[in-house]
């Protein structure tokens, strides 16, 4: 993505921040801003994996359901063994396995990505509800909870995770052959294949990474909520995809960046946080997120047409 584009998007974040600061006294308080960063980091963790998939002209609709199952399994393991490390490993591995299965469905079995991951969504949804049977697993050790709700040097712990993933992901997409190949596949799969890029194995990689990021997000989310229920992943899918689109990653693949997704996650969180501060009910959230998804997709199309014309 061109730097100027990112500039416009950052401008949008600034404008909405100024509006919120004018409308609500609570907005500019340090605790609220840190809270915004904490929320944005969760959305970013999920959205960064989706960004890679969309860059390669794929789609992953299963991330929300992935988070739910991974979090519930991680919660079970922590409760059973008392080991935080084992719980984290469980959440991450569950996410990775789901991502890998998505990859196999898309590459080896050649299912359209949106329908393969949409089917996966409902398979995971069913398994999670069956497994939890209406139960809630709650109350985890404080050291685990610190992952989601703790602070280090005055900054929420998830923010460090977000920055770590941003730097690692940025280096990966920008400076490695793998990263360049992902862009190439998204820009034109056929050309990429003919140029000798191992398309299937790279696609497997991006779906697995998306699953891994969902696994990581599930651990952080679990630590923050301090409880696991079957439905915890449901409100996450739409915001994550919205963040990717607002961040300027094109739905048609090949164009976009993780830094854009970070800006998208910030923008979306500011909007949702602002609604919260202005005491607009949570019932409005799907409506607003839906409008943002459609608007962002439309902007992508217009920009694309202008680029071609």
């Amino acid at each position: 993505m061109k730097a100027s584009n990112l500039g416009y998007r950052l401008g949008g974040v600034l404008i909405i921040s100024v509006i919120l600061a004018l409308l609500s006294d609570a907005f500019l308080s340090a605790s609220n801003l840190l809270n915004v960063l904490r929320q944005a980091s969760l959305i970013f963790l999920l959205a960064s994996g989706v960004t890679l998939v969309i860059l390669a002209a794929g789609l992953d609709l299963s991330i929300g359901a992935n988070v739910a199952l991974s979090a519930c399994l991680a919660a079970t393991v922590i409760k059973l063994t008392g080991s935080i490390a084992l719980g984290i490993v469980t959440g991450l591995s569950c996410g990775v396995v789901i991502g890998l299965v998505n990859g196999v469905l898309v590459t080896a079995l050649r299912l359209p990505p949106f329908i393969a991951t949409y089917g996966m969504l409902w398979v995971l949804h069913g398994i999670t509800y069956w497994y939890m049977a209406g139960d809630t697993i709650y109350d985890f050790p404080p050291t685990f909870r610190a992952l989601g709700s703790g602070y280090a040097l005055g900054v929420p712990v998830p923010v460090y995770l977000m920055l770590g993933c941003l730097v690692a992901g940025g280096l990966f997409t920008r400076y490695t052959t793998y990263g360049h190949q992902i862009y190439a596949i998204g820009a034109n799969t056929e050309v990429a294949r003919l140029s000798g890029i191992p398309v299937r194995s790279r696609l497997n990689l991006v779906y697995t990474l998306s699953g891994a990021m969902a696994g990581l997000a599930s651990v952080v989310y679990l630590a923050r909520l301090n409880s696991a229920e079957a439905d915890i992943g449901e409100p996450l899918m739409l915001p994550a995809i919205a963040a990717v689109l607002i961040g300027g990653t094109s739905l048609f693949g090949g164009i976009g960046s993780l830094s854009g997704t970070l800006v998208g996650a910030l923008f979306l969180t500011l909007v949702l946080n602002g609604m919260n501060l202005l005491t607009i009910g949570a019932n409005w959230q799907p409506l607003v997120t839906g409008v943002i998804v459609v608007a962002a997709a439309w902007v992508d199309i217009v920009a694309r047409r202008r680029g071609e014309g």
């Binding site: 393969a116 089917g119 969504l121 409902w122 398979v123 997709a297």
Partner: protein, 314 residues
């Protein structure tokens, strides 16, 4: 890719879904004694009828290489509109008209976003899913709308020529869609939009108009399904129908309609709806939790797509 893959196979082919349905029927008859009784099979029909109302337009949408993820949410919003008007004492006809209008509006909006703006269908309808769901939640504050009077529940409970109302509605809807798809110009264009879009444009047909209309029909049918659903629930609920679009998509895919080349078969969709209905009901009878039923339908879709792909039809 290969020449064989490109070759068009004739539709209708001998559908795998027929074997699947027969297999499910036999399996559950053996496993569950209560399954193969007339009241239970009638129950499957009643349960499947609302699904068919959604799966019929979904067939046209998928044939046009599209998708509508917003149908369950549209049904919810139309149902809430209907129930709210009925609670206010509006006549059933007016309230029903309003529900259909809500569906039509959202369906046309889907079509406009997808056809005129060029937004990929799954993203556009994911957005309108959020919008419709949000509107329904905001309008009802997340609560069920109860006290809709006797008229609609009575209509739902009525029997016509020995058949439950909802089955009769489903049969009529099938008849209308069959005529529409196979015996009108609109139907021919539906096949062509997924298969030979260029040819339509070259022939001077306003393909975009018909393409938008396909999604409009989807919205209207979601509104129509809301009438039956609200009658059955005796209330309007903002989120009860969420996810129903997945059953509809599953039924269409299992029924042999393909995501590409305008390859669709309406009787296959009926079989697909019945397969989904039988699977859910049968798992219910042998006491498998409803959550695993959802998962099993997910697996059913993936399996159907696999078979489709192995046959080299995609």
């Amino acid at each position: 890719m290969s020449a064989a893959r490109e070759k068009r196979l004739p539709t209708p082919f001998l559908p795998g879904v027929a074997y699947l349905l027969a297999g499910l029927l036999v399996t559950f008859s053996v496993l569950a004694p209560g399954f193969a009784s007339v009241p239970n099979l009638l129950n499957v029909g009643v349960q499947s009828s609302i699904l068919l109302l959604l799966a019929l337009p979904m067939t046209l949408i998928i044939m046009s290489e599209g998708l509508d993820l917003s149908m369950g949410a549209m049904l919810g919003l139309a149902g809430v509109t209907l129930a709210t008007l009925l609670v206010d004492g509006t006549s059933l006809v007016f309230a029903a008209g309003a529900a259909l209008a809500v569906g039509l509006l959202f369906g046309m909006a889907n079509g406009w976003l997808i056809v005129s703006l060029g937004i990929p269908p799954f993203v556009a309808t994911l957005g309108t899913l959020g919008i419709a769901q949000g509107l329904a939640l905001v309008a009802t504050d997340g609560q069920s709308v109860v006290g809709i009077g006797e008229q609609l529940p009575d209509l739902y409970a009525s029997r016509w020529i020995g058949l439950p109302f909802s089955i009769l509605v489903a049969l009529v809807a099938y008849g209308v869609f069959h005529l529409l798809l196979y015996h009108t110009r609109f139907g021919t264009y539906v096949f062509a939009i997924g298969g030979h879009r260029e040819a339509l444009d070259l022939a001077g047909v306003r393909a975009n108009l018909y393409h938008v209309a396909i999604y409009g029909v989807g919205g209207v049918m979601a509104g129509f399904a809301a009438l039956v659903f609200t009658g059955r629930m005796n209330a309007g609920h903002p989120t009860a129908a969420l996810g129903m679009e997945f059953d509809a998509i599953a039924a269409v895919i299992v029924g042999g309609t393909s995501f590409s080349r305008g390859d669709g078969w309406l009787p296959g969709t009926v079989l697909g709806v019945l397969a989904v209905g039988v699977l859910k009901n049968g798992l219910n009878v042998i006491a498998i939790s409803s959550s695993l039923q959802v998962a099993s339908i997910g697996l059913l879709v993936i399996a159907a797509l696999l078979i489709d792909s192995l046959r080299g039809r995609r």
